[in-house]
Point group: C2
Chain length 212, copies 2
């Protein structure tokens, strides 16, 4: 079996174990057993528990970023539809990969500064991506000249923070689907609470996503 | 000097040291020196670095919750104005107490599950508080019968996540004030991105907070 295939199996087993049991409780024995290899082989390939965990964080952060980027890539979409596509991709990915999201959202942030810094880097890329989308949306809307650069970054920070919190909640709450979570956030973020309470909803079916 | 006064001085010194230097790097020597007491006295009063840090997290979580609760307590305010008051109180408190916010938002979440659980409990209380406000707002608005219980909790999760992310960003970004951060979030949350990009802004001066 080629090294990269075997390494991927070990990493899959590690993400499942770290995500379900937690970083501290997870043992290299369990990971090796789940991967169907010997423990010395895990150490040979991935060096230490710390290095293995770091490799898991990086792989899963890259996968999440790639999923979100793939979601917003359609250039023909209106700004709010791009945002909707990105949010849907984010929630679909975190729902489909609950162990990976647990590694990124819970485990990596809880067990020391070097792991937390890896997740911080991913977060920064998500904020940059959303900032770019919001700038494009602002340019497409001539009525918003006073939405300054700092405001845009602030809103992007708020949106990413909201998405992270919702994804954590959705994965821990039985019966909440990725689509529901994306819809909750899109209604909240795009339509605003004020209009939400008046009974309005954001809808991708309406041109520009705006309801009259 | 009474024990409680001395203990408060030690905790003040501990919050400043943990917040500025980080949990791992902070030493009991530094904390004792900053508090103007001997190191054995810190151990005598607060037992261990872990216990001292836990006591700091609890004290600062209680203080933040009390500040937010005091902000929303005015019963005559409209729902959006209560939300605005709560957000303003949250951002004012985190801005006025950057070391405490660093302890809660960065340090406590990064150094092990027992500390993270303390912050998780505070987060749960904030979500409950916001959920209650949103329920009241929903009841006051007859047009929103289909904003279900689960939606309300989801929106509360999103709003608290957004507020946490913005407070972290505001404290790390020179020149961003608490009021600006509160205003960014209120515009985003209440008015919605769709209307924000059309040039609208939420304003407490307009009855009900809604701009036509």
């Amino acid at each position: 079996m080629p090294r990269e295939v075997r390494e991927r199996q070990m990493m899959d087993a590690a993400v499942a174990t770290f995500g379900q049991r937690g970083y501290r409780a997870a043992s290299m024995d369990e990971i090796a057993e789940l991967a169907g290899v010997s423990k010395p082989l895990v150490y040979l390939y991935l060096n230490s528990k710390e290095d293995l965990f770091t490799a898991c964080i990086r792989r899963e952060a890259d996968a999440l970023l790639a999923a979100v980027r793939a979601g917003v890539v359609e250039p023909d979409l209106a700004p709010d539809e791009q945002l909707w596509a990105g949010l849907t991709a984010f929630f679909a990915h975190t729902a489909d990969n609950p162990d990976a999201w647990s590694v990124l959202h819970r485990q990596a942030r809880t067990h020391g500064e070097s792991f937390a810094a890896e997740v911080g880097a991913m977060r920064g890329e998500l904020v940059d991506l959303v900032t770019g989308l919001l700038r494009d949306a602002g340019r497409a809307s001539p009525a918003s000249p006073d939405l300054g650069d700092r405001d845009v970054v602030g809103v992007a920070q708020a949106l990413v923070g909201a998405a992270e919190a919702l994804a954590g909640w959705a994965n821990e709450t039985p019966g909440v689907s990725a689509k529901e979570a994306a819809s909750t956030l899109m209604n909240f973020a795009w339509t605003g609470l004020g209009r939400l309470l008046e009974g309005e909803r954001w809808s991708a079916a309406v041109p520009g996503g705006r309801l009259s």
